[in-house]
């Protein structure tokens, strides 16, 4: 068990810098997800930890020891590839014990490990099969078993669920969480799927263009996005972003926006006291806009806005309503399905003043967050 620290890590391919001066620390036993759009460098980062890519600058430290130049073979790390990389000419059992045999582990220890890992990953009865004779979900579990038997300090998972269909993915997510609880390994998990990241991780490192945008608990990233990118990438349906200007007056302060004047709660109002006239990007999650029958039900911090409904998407238990504010921007919000909403309907909805995010349009930073470092 060991903490993993990346200190000012830099990766270059030729003259292109893919990752520059990235810092990240993962506690022993933690489940951390590297989340980001494709091509952001998350897989490269994982491969650097595994020793499959060189580290141009900075330090990789595991359990207090510098690992930069230690070859993959000598790192106490296991990795599950996106393709699972099962050896096609070996049976499930031979695949699982490959690493143990290479490391000359005694036969009785190998038997113990098999007796432990096969029921854990529900692979009973498949030991003699070849990889091509088992299903995608089973292959994924074999790859995981092969990694777990090595008892690694750090387990690296590169989009292990991306080749599974949706139904299988749901169960696999639960499975992974169960296994993490059971073995308590440090896990670094790479994905571009925010739902996987939100449901599984203890912390998410949101990566964009080779640097970390935000490194926090999933809930914190959702409730308190540090940058515009965080706000846009996390959350479904996507956050509404409109232009606005801070307006500080004696009795009511708030933001003047393209969709109307929006009040803020007292805490936020206090923070913008000195910012009169500042241009901002206003972020409102679809979940923070609500519809009520009677004006009296609203909270005093909430503001009403007028919309014309353009489109209604059925999400099962709820509907996503896409409305337009006059000639202005599109606003998305979520409604329970108590009544049918039809396009062209004019309606009044309320924006929750406690959940409005304001971003600086130049630095793209959330102005309500302290200047904290990762």
């Amino acid at each position: 068990m060991a903490d993993l620290i990346l200190r000012s890590i830099t990766k270059k391919f030729g003259n292109t810098t893919v990752i520059s001066k990235l810092d990240l620390s993962v506690k022993s036993g933690e489940f951390v997800t590297l989340l980001g759009p494709s091509g952001c460098g998350k897989t490269t980062l994982l491969r650097m930890i595994a020793g499959l890519e060189t580290i141009e600058e900075g330090e990789l430290i595991i359990g207090g020891k510098k690992y930069n130049n230690i070859p993959s073979q000598k790192r106490r790390i296991a990795m599950v590839f996106q393709s699972y990389a099962l050896f096609p000419h070996m049976s499930v059992m031979q695949n699982i014990i490959f690493g143990l045999k290479i490391n000359k582990v005694k036969a009785e220890v190998i038997q113990q490990k098999l007796a432990w890992v096969i029921p854990l990953l529900r692979l009973d009865g498949l030991e003699k099969r070849l990889p091509r004779e088992i299903s995608g979900g089973q292959r994924q579990r074999v790859a995981l078993a092969r990694a777990l038997v090595l008892d690694p300090d750090v387990l690296l998972l590169d989009e292990p669920l991306s080749n599974l269909d949706t139904a299988l993915r749901e169960t696999a997510v639960e499975e992974l969480k169960r296994i993490h609880r059971h073995v308590g390994k440090t896990i670094i998990y790479v994905t571009h799927n925010q739902v996987e990241a939100m449901t599984m991780s203890e912390r998410i490192a949101l990566i964009n263009n080779g640097h970390i945008e935000q490194y926090d608990k999933p809930k914190v990233i959702y409730d308190n996005p540090k940058t515009v990118f965080s706000a846009e990438f996390i959350g479904s349906p996507p956050i509404n972003l409109v232009n606005g200007e801070i307006c500080v007056q004696k009795h009511y302060s708030g933001v003047k926006t393209e969709i109307g004047f929006l009040k803020l709660d007292r805490e936020r109002t206090g923070k913008i006291a000195e910012m009169d006239g500042k241009k901002v990007l206003v972020g409102i999650r679809p979940q923070s806009i609500y519809y009520i029958e009677h004006l009296a039900q609203r909270r005093h911090t909430d503001t009403h806005i007028f919309l014309t409904v353009e489109l209604v998407e059925n999400l099962g238990d709820r509907s996503l309503v896409v409305g337009r504010c006059g000639d202005g921007p599109i606003v998305r919000f979520i409604m329970t399905r108590e009544e049918d909403i039809l396009p062209e309907r004019k309606m009044t909805v309320f924006v929750d003043g406690r959940r409005i995010h304001l971003f600086d349009p130049v630095t793209r930073l959330n102005i309500f967050r302290e200047n904290d470092t990762i």
């Binding site: 499959l52 790390i77 590839f81 050896f87 092969r146």
Partner: protein, 260 residues
Amino acid sequence: MAVLMVIVPVYLLVKYSISDIGSINTGGAAIPLWPENPTLRSYAYLFTDHNFYQVILNSVIVAFSTVLLSMIIGVPAAYFLGRYRIPGRRMVLLGIISVRLFPDIVSVIPITEFFIHTGLHQTFTGVILSHTLLALPYVIFIGIGAFESIPVDLEQQAWVLGASRYQTFLKILMPLAIPGLAAAAIYTFLLSWDEFIFAYYIVFGRQELFTMTLYLNGIKHAAPQNLLAAISVCLSVPVVLFSFLVQRYMIAGISTGSVK
């Protein structure tokens, strides 16, 4: 028509090999379509001749040694050329293929000359080396195809699991490359088995080193046609047999090799 072009010579060859001499030298009369008295006498004669056993043995020695040597040199070369983007890779590949750009009769002369100076003339080693030279481009190109078709993930996964590069090569890459490499090996065997020009120049009349093709050439004016036909059949049987057995591997091997 095409089928006839293939069938007729084979038919003639087999027919001659089982003919009695009377069905061949008919003294001007038409040669019958099937011998009047089919006989295996030519074969019987061949296999009582100790020289002929020696010749078969020579051919087998040369062919197997060529296969062994080409594989030992060609497989690692194919691995490195297929896996690593080393500088000058294209030049190396071009150099390898250029061996086969010249007609054999052109390259045989400088090579024989070289062997005379290095003491390899009129030796098995010389013949084996020259056949290896001929086979290597095929082994390397088919081998590159075989290794390139193995996903890099498998190799890197093995490393992460603790396998050294050598172990990875032996336990992961080799078993997966076998079908392609087997095709290359058999191709090499056949190439060496029916090669004539290089063997002829390098052995240069030293009878105890004669391979099948040289033996056939040596007696072509002295022996009756039915005996020559029988030798030819013996020469062709392994070729035909192997080609049928491995044609699927061959196609797979050659086509994967030619993609990139």
